[in-house]
């Protein structure tokens, strides 16, 4: 190890020369291998997603057509998804998910932003303990919260309310927010705040005109990550929601079709597409920042 890590200037130059010399053949092979790898990864990630979309546009009678491209195209499945006559209230579930997601995100960011600022910028006693606690909390199994909360919410009549779904979601959204924001804050050029103060800005102006615009992208990304986590939550919602407050994840899992014992595959795929496509578009637009947030925070979405 030691011999390979110490690079003398002469050797580095030799390395550069060696690289330029061997480029033609070695580089082409490497390029081909790289392209094959890229194609395989893209296929692995997108093929099932593509299959969901293709199926969502397929007529029910041709559910198991298995042709890899769109055939028997129809919009019927999307009509079925939003049809309330079969006992599915998908539109309401979408609204519920949005309410739960937005409230959870706002609360998590509100409480998380101060903690993250302190963790990123201040040296105080017990800082690493707090970091450890926050990380431990983000790895906490949801079932350990479920039983007491289920009993408590049953006793106080909260089952079927939004707060019964928002409060437990804080348990994973807040640690996630703190971690990702701490990472973002640690990378911010805080000297600019001092610079603004020296240039005659008031502390309020320095915050509003310098710090806030710099922090906004990180805050926004963090909010998106928290929102996605809350939007995707299933375990707690499946037990603590009623028909009236159930979010989309629970609605999709219990989606019923026109035939009692037949899984409405195409309609479920349409529902899945409706739930997923907005998220995917959002993620694609913000991909660079989301990857930074994910890997810095190292938290699961």
């Amino acid at each position: 190890m030691a011999s390979t890590t110490t690079v003398e200037p002469g050797r580095a130059a030799a390395a550069t020369r060696a690289r330029t010399r061997t480029r033609p053949r070695g580089a082409t092979a490497a390029k081909v291998r790289s392209y094959i790898g890229i194609v395989l990864i893209v296929l692995f990630c997108l093929a099932p997603f593509y299959w969901m979309i293709v199926t969502s546009f397929r007529e029910v009678d041709f559910t198991f057509d298995n042709t890899p491209w769109p055939t028997h195209v129809t919009l019927d499945n999307y009509r079925t998804v939003f049809d309330t006559s079969l006992g599915n209230h998908f539109a309401r579930a979408l609204l519920n998910s949005a309410i739960i997601g937005v409230c959870t995100t706002i609360l998590a960011v509100m409480f998380g932003v101060f903690a993250a600022y302190a963790l990123a910028r201040l040296d105080f006693r017990g800082k690493f303990v707090v970091l450890g606690v926050v990380l431990g909390a983000s790895m906490f199994p949801g079932v350990a919260l479920l039983t007491p909360l289920f009993q408590l919410f049953t006793n106080i009549g909260w089952i079927g309310t939004y707060q019964a779904l928002i409060i437990p979601d804080i348990s994973f959204a807040l640690p996630l927010t703190i971690y990702v924001l701490t990472a973002f804050f640690a990378e911010m050029p805080w000297e600019l705040e001092q610079a603004a103060l020296v240039d005659g800005a008031s502390p309020g102006q320095a915050f509003r005109k310098v710090i806030l615009p710099l922090a906004a992208p990180g805050l926004f990304t963090t909010a998106i990550l928290a929102f996605i986590a809350a939007w995707n939550e299933f375990l707690l919602a499946s037990q603590l929601s009623s028909d009236r407050t159930q979010p989309v994840t629970v609605a999709i899992a219990s989606f019923t079709g026109s035939q009692p014992h037949q899984e409405p595959y195409t309609a479920v795929m349409a529902a899945g597409t409706v739930v997923t496509v907005p998220l995917v578009i959002l993620v694609l637009i913000l991909q660079r920042r989301i990857v930074a947030g994910l890997t810095a925070g190292g938290v699961k979405g």
Binding site: R11, A115, L122, L131, G132, T147, F234, T249, L294, K300
Partner: protein
């Protein structure tokens, strides 16, 4: 704006912000301590309310009897102190004085424990190997990095409930999996195919996340290390085992730790994909199945689950030295 940063830094150093400089003075240090405390406390209180309280409450509940018929006496009991009987019930699979009959929830503790461990070992192993390969491809990609990053984020962004339904469709009897493999397997109908389906779905959903974590670790390895090794005549395999693996180890361990703790609490996928049937009931599913048959017993089971996950995390940090907090810090520094 273009000139201010430099000037600002210089001024900052000359003592304009007394708060961050001259750390030695005790009253300033305590001022930082106080400010840190005030900023941290709302979040900590919030965590205590949403996590601390339920956990303590679950432990208290786990030592209470569930109201119901006492199997040993046949009399109705309305609760009361249970001692460790709820824990004994699960761990020794005892229902009253007898062994829990097959089919009851009480007889499913060890089977669901082994299912959970199986999912963890199988998924994490495959995900780490596959994730490592993906990360290597992504780090060496000449072109198409944006495309790669975008497609890798798709499985991650899809809600697990939707993922489960999607793979349920793929693994349907007439579905595309049997069609492509030219098999006629009832995937969710028996133990190993059902477990296989769950692992495949989990691998698809979370390998990209592992790949991104490993990629972040790979990117802080300087190129000249590889160049030097090449000049010294190291083969590609040697470069991988002697340079890449040791240097990416901290990021890799964190990825493995996160995923391990995550699969140990797996619920959504098997619950929706197989309904927990055919040996795919995990500890989390067992807790949920128990919850409407007795809170206190469910609380004991969830406490066991929590302690088990905690123990695994502890062993991980102790023996593999996965120093999560420090890795986070150094990765942040590396990224700067």
């Amino acid at each position: 704006m273009t000139v201010t940063p430099e000037a600002g830094t210089r001024d900052a150093e000359s003592g304009e912000p007394p708060k961050r400089r001259r750390r030695g003075r005790p009253e300033l240090e305590s001022a930082q301590n106080r400010l840190g405390f005030y900023l941290i406390i709302p979040a900590i209180v919030m965590l205590l309310v949403v996590i601390g309280y339920p956990v303590v409450r679950a432990v208290i509940m786990s030592f209470q009897k569930d109201p119901g018929l006492d199997p040993s006496t046949g009399l109705f009991v309305s609760g009361g102190f249970a001692g460790f009987s709820n824990y004994v019930h699960w761990i020794f699979q005892r229902c009253g004085d007898v062994k829990c009959p097959p089919g009851t929830l009480g007889s499913q503790f060890w089977p669901s424990m082994s299912a959970t461990i199986f999912f963890t070992v199988a998924s994490v192993t495959i995900e780490v190997v596959l994730g490592m390969w993906m990360a290597l491809v992504m780090s060496r990609a000449f072109r198409g990095r944006g495309l790669l990053r975008a497609s890798v984020l798709v499985p991650w962004a899809i809600p697990t409930a939707v993922t489960a339904k999607l793979w349920f469709f793929i693994f349907a009897f007439n579905g595309i999996a049997n069609y492509l493999l030219r098999t006629e397997i009832l995937w969710t109908g028996s133990q190993w195919p059902a477990r296989f389906a769950v692992v495949v779905a989990d691998v698809w959903k979370t390998t990209p996340f592992i790949a991104l974590l490993i990629l972040a670790g790979l990117q802080i390895i300087p190129d000249d290390v590889y160049e030097a090794a090449k000049v010294d005549g190291a083969t590609a395999w040697q470069r991988f085992t002697r340079i890449t693996l040791p240097l990416v180890r901290p990021a890799l361990l964190v990825a493995i730790l996160f995923r391990t703790l995550d699969v140990l609490r797996i619920f959504d996928l098997p619950y929706i994909l197989t309904g927990g049937a055919n040996g795919t009931t995990t500890l989390s599913i067992l807790v949920v199945n128990q919850i409407r048959q007795g809170f206190n017993s469910a609380a004991a089971l969830s406490t066991i689950t929590f302690l088990f996950i905690f123990l695994v995390a502890f062993l991980f940090v102790k023996f593999l030295g996965a120093n999560v907090v420090q890795t986070q810090q150094s990765q942040q520094k590396g990224a700067r």
